[in-house]
Assembly symmetry: C2
Homo-oligomer: 226 residues x 2
């Protein structure tokens, strides 16, 4: 038997994985970056094949990982997590440094970064795992805590986007609608769910300039869900 | 330039990865387990080639992951993290359940477990990454928090053993010995370092029945280090 709630006990951080060059680049929000060897230091990053960043990693043979902190601007998470580089230039106007391999490193809300050169790629189905050997790393701000995925989900009420390895299709979890008349509203941009039972404020009572805490979409972008 | 302190900002949990069968089995402490695909749910576990558990994973084609909680008995971490199954039967006397694939699942201090069937193996140098497809998962105790690697290092003062992907050879970090006459003492069993400057108590002043907080070794097992 598979209990999906057991999977949520695995611990993750939250990162921006970016790649490309000075002309073209992109990045996405990832919770699945980890060190796989110490000597030499090598990292693994799991990336959905549909992510626009994949082609940049494959073309440049490198990627950067920006570690986000606990108070990261929700717009940054929404920007990299729920929008596609196919539609917008995600790096425009941001604080970007170019690494030794030429890939863009996003410094907004970043407390440390790694830059890795891809040495192996593993196809694991819907995702590719890029094994990267460390070429550069820097600690930028040691006064802030790295954001954990648990903090993002629990405190910031964030959710996994559909391309994430940890995405949960709630229809498979047997979650029942609340017995009372309290309702839920889902952001059509990022799938964040506003749960009246949890928030203790009716969605209708929220100010009209209220925005999605995850991706910044407008209140009118929400639809009622059961 | 590589700054090793940047690497410590990547977030991990702490797990026992186990494998084998009812007659023979073993397990080790790991911080590098993560989900790599959602559909179907697949996990990655990075395992040092020297770990005795490797042969059990290769022979059985399966492994279990036990998620440890914040107050895990230090003896459990020391037992699985700093002792070898080549010397002792690590599973003797423990609370073990056997999974659908026949592998042992360690339930001591476990709040949730996963059982995975190996579908791919990737050689990344000193370590193997076992990609496992989920066959079973169970949430056992939702009253306790999963222990994070940061908590283990910061609050419990634990360190990466030499076989861990996140092991840091401090000689490469340019760490200088303290300017004062305060000393450091290292546990010869698990490499935990008792730092007088940090603890504010002389090692010599500790009670004779004081034991290593990580692996439970005796005070006499410590040696002075610079």
């Amino acid at each position: 038997m598979i209990q999906f709630e057991a999977l949520s006990r695995i611990s993750y951080g939250l990162y921006i994985v970016s790649s490309g060059n000075k002309t073209n680049g992109n990045g996405y929000i990832s919770n699945t970056v980890f060190q796989v060897t110490a000597e030499p230091p090598r990292f693994a990053a799991s990336c959905n094949k549909d992510n626009y960043t994949v082609k940049f990693i494959q073309e440049s043979g490198a990627y950067a990982v920006s570690v986000l902190h606990n108070d990261t601007d929700p717009d940054i998470i929404g920007h990299f997590g729920y929008k596609s580089g196919r539609d917008i230039d995600k790096l425009a106007g941001l604080n970007v440094r170019y690494g030794e391999t030429g890939v863009p490193i996003i410094l907004n809300d970043c407390i440390a970064f790694l830059e890795c050169k891809v040495v192996q790629t593993m196809d694991v189905g819907t995702h590719l795992i890029f094994i990267g050997e460390l070429v550069q790393s820097e600690a930028i701000d040691d006064t802030k805590e790295a954001i954990t995925y648990l903090h993002y989900r629990r405190v910031r009420k964030g959710m996994s986007p559909k391309n994430a390895p940890t995405y949960i299709d709630k229809s498979k979890m047997g979650v029942k609608p609340p017995a009372s008349d309290l309702k839920k509203f889902e952001c059509t941009a990022c799938a964040y769910v506003y749960d009246e039972a949890e928030q203790e404020v009716r969605f209708a009572d929220l100010a009209e300039d209220w925005i999605c805490p995850v991706c910044g979409s407008e209140k009118s972008d929400f639809i009622e869900v059961v």
